[in-house]
């Protein structure tokens, strides 16, 4: 009961800051408590969303075979991290695969280490198709396999939503960045604002 009222308080506070704050958000303000889930990381270990409590999270749904949208988005995320300065250490990125059949932990590891050679800032997550489906539903992330004709090499692509979600350190979604939000500088400004507001 107490827990529930605390959540409501958070939602209320979130609503108030998004309406009265002087900061013009670049991203789309959206308040939603994310329910805990467990997936497999790039090292093959099962990790839970709640394990990242205390960090501000950037969550992105994609897949490693993705030819245009995911590399563009991952590059934008990398550029954003590079602009966070001293706030970078409070931020972590979750790349959640929408192609769990092909995205093995090994594949994810190679993919994310390209954008984060230190291995400190990005976690790749995969799981069973059912697990992924459940997680994606919570974020209203849509994805659908699209077979490619005459192309056994690639086989299929995946149409998917390409939003970057900002989750605060208590597991509550605060902002959604759309593909049109191309400027890493402005994304970083939003993130820093949110970190300052809710505390490091």
């Amino acid at each position: 009961m107490l827990k529930k009222s605390v959540i409501w308080l958070f939602l209320l506070v979130g609503l108030v800051i998004t309406t009265v704050s002087a900061h013009q958000f670049y991203g789309y303000p959206y308040v939603q408590k994310i329910k805990d889930f467990t997936l497999i990381d790039q090292n093959g270990k099962r990790v839970s969303f709640s394990d990242f409590r205390g960090k501000y999270l950037l969550v992105f749904f994609g897949y490693t075979y993705c030819p245009d949208v995911c590399p563009t988005s991952m590059y934008r995320i990398k550029e954003t991290l590079d602009r966070l300065g001293k706030y970078k250490k409070y931020v972590h990125v979750l790349f959640i695969s929408v192609d769990p059949e092909r995205d093995t932990p090994e594949n994810l590891k190679k993919f994310i280490s390209y954008y984060d050679p230190t291995g400190k800032y990005i976690t790749g997550l995969t799981g069973s198709p059912e697990e992924i489906k459940k997680v994606a539903k919570q974020f209203r992330a849509y994805y659908k396999k699209v077979p490619l004709k005459d192309n056994p090499e690639v086989g299929y692509l995946v149409d998917h939503t390409a939003f970057i979600y900002l989750i605060d350190k208590n597991g509550i979604m605060r902002l959604i960045f759309r593909p049109a939000n191309e400027d890493p500088e402005k994304i970083a400004e939003d993130i820093i604002y949110v970190i300052k507001y809710f505390g490091e």
């Binding site: 030819p67 245009d68 563009t72 390209y114 192309n151 090499e153 690639v154 149409d159 390409a162």
Partner: protein
């Protein structure tokens, strides 16, 4: 007199020929550097048509990938979709930009990992201008 007539005729022929031809120029081509295990990448560039006539990019050949196709990324209510297109039209005195999130040449089934900074060869096939050879650097952006 005969010579002058011939000359004028030649000027006319060349003039008409020059008028009807599209003049294609490729500006800043680049290939996206991707993680070494990725099987796909994309080629981007700006295609400028400095001529009067329209032209169409109808195909791309390369040794680096098993298949190169003209694609377009479209945002349909937030869902990013890849659409295979047959051609890109470049009208006279206009340009078309191939860039991330829009038109691109999708390179499918890379035969080897790409190295940042290396130059890759491509042959662009245009309906009117024919085959144009280009070299594009691999860039991380």
């Amino acid at each position: 007199m005969k010579r002058i007539t011939l000359f004028l005729l030649m000027v006319l022929v060349v003039g008409v020929y020059a008028y009807t031809q599209p003049v294609i120029r490729i500006v800043d081509p680049w290939v996206r550097a991707v993680p070494p295990n990725m099987k796909n990448s994309a080629l981007f560039m700006t295609i400028v048509n400095e001529g009067d006539e329209d032209d169409e990019l109808i195909g791309v050949e390369t040794d680096i990938a098993r298949m190169a196709q003209i694609h377009k990324t479209v945002n349909e209510n937030g869902v990013m979709k890849m659409v295979h297109v047959d051609k890109i039209e470049i009208h006279g005195h206009t340009k078309v930009e191939l860039k991330p999130g829009g038109y691109h040449i999708m390179l499918m089934g890379l035969k080897r990992p790409l190295k940042e900074g290396e130059m890759l060869k491509f042959t662009l096939i245009f309906k009117n201008s024919g085959r144009i050879q280009i070299e594009a650097p691999v860039k991380r952006k």
